[in-house]
Symmetry: C2
Subunit: 147 residues, 2 copies
């Protein structure tokens, strides 16, 4: 099997509500709270998550997806920065357009009308409408380099 030709299908488990609907630096987005809306079909998977918990959030860079990716680029779109491979940057314009950021849950509420759950979070750097594809509890042994 030539795995480079294999296509895999994934689906959103939720989406982000944020005040940012266009590009902003990560640290600016992380300074503002945002929300992760978990779709009704996946709410049962949240059992055990609590306010104060730290979550590795995987989401899609959906606006970049509409543009396409580049294997080599000037970081920060600044031609003064020497060209680098996309895998040595956190550029949005990457194959598969998946972002990973650790956020902190401030509160969780359930919307009885829609069946959705809404996680109020801080430290997330996702634009409004970003499809969320996974939530994992932060675990230092997997998410932090060994020293």
């Amino acid at each position: 099997m030539d795995q480079s030709d294999e296509l895999i299908t994934i689906k959103a488990i939720g989406h982000v509500r944020s005040r940012f609907d266009s590009y902003a630096p990560s640290d600016e987005m992380q300074a503002h709270p945002s929300e992760i809306v978990v779709h009704a079909d996946f709410v049962d998977g949240l059992m055990g998550l609590e306010a104060g918990g730290q979550i590795l959030t995987l989401f899609l860079l959906h606006r970049a997806m509409a543009v396409g990716y580049e294997l080599q680029l000037h970081p920060g779109h600044n031609p003064d920065n020497p060209i680098r491979g996309v895998f040595s940057t956190r550029s949005q314009y990457r194959p598969n357009f998946i972002a990973a950021t650790v956020a902190r849950i401030q509160s969780i509420r359930h919307d009885e009308a829609t069946g959705e759950a809404v996680l109020n979070v801080t430290e997330l750097d996702a634009q409004d409408g970003s499809p969320v594809i996974d939530i994992k509890p932060y675990r230092a042994s997997l998410d932090t380099p060994a020293s």
Copy 2:
């Protein structure tokens, strides 16, 4: 648009070579070196990665994918552990079957015959043959909780 119904297609940029071809605890897998083989089409994206660098590696839990996911489960498949939601665990049996682990590059070599690049890494917990879907430089502001 109902994003829960939206399907997104992703593709492998490479695959893992590991001595583990069936389930083993993460810490056991992390104790052994493994390799990330980057397919020729994506090798240009590696420019700037170097030995010693720490990379957040996204890969597919391809063996779990063949089984299916569960929204609630006994962690560690141990019925003595109370049931939890999958998003509060690092279970393999999760929607989208994507794993995220920070590894360290020990060396990088290029295979002139195939055009592939091979990253020798430590601290990765991927089974043999796992499709790799992204490599990102570790960045504490995104990958570590604010204290």
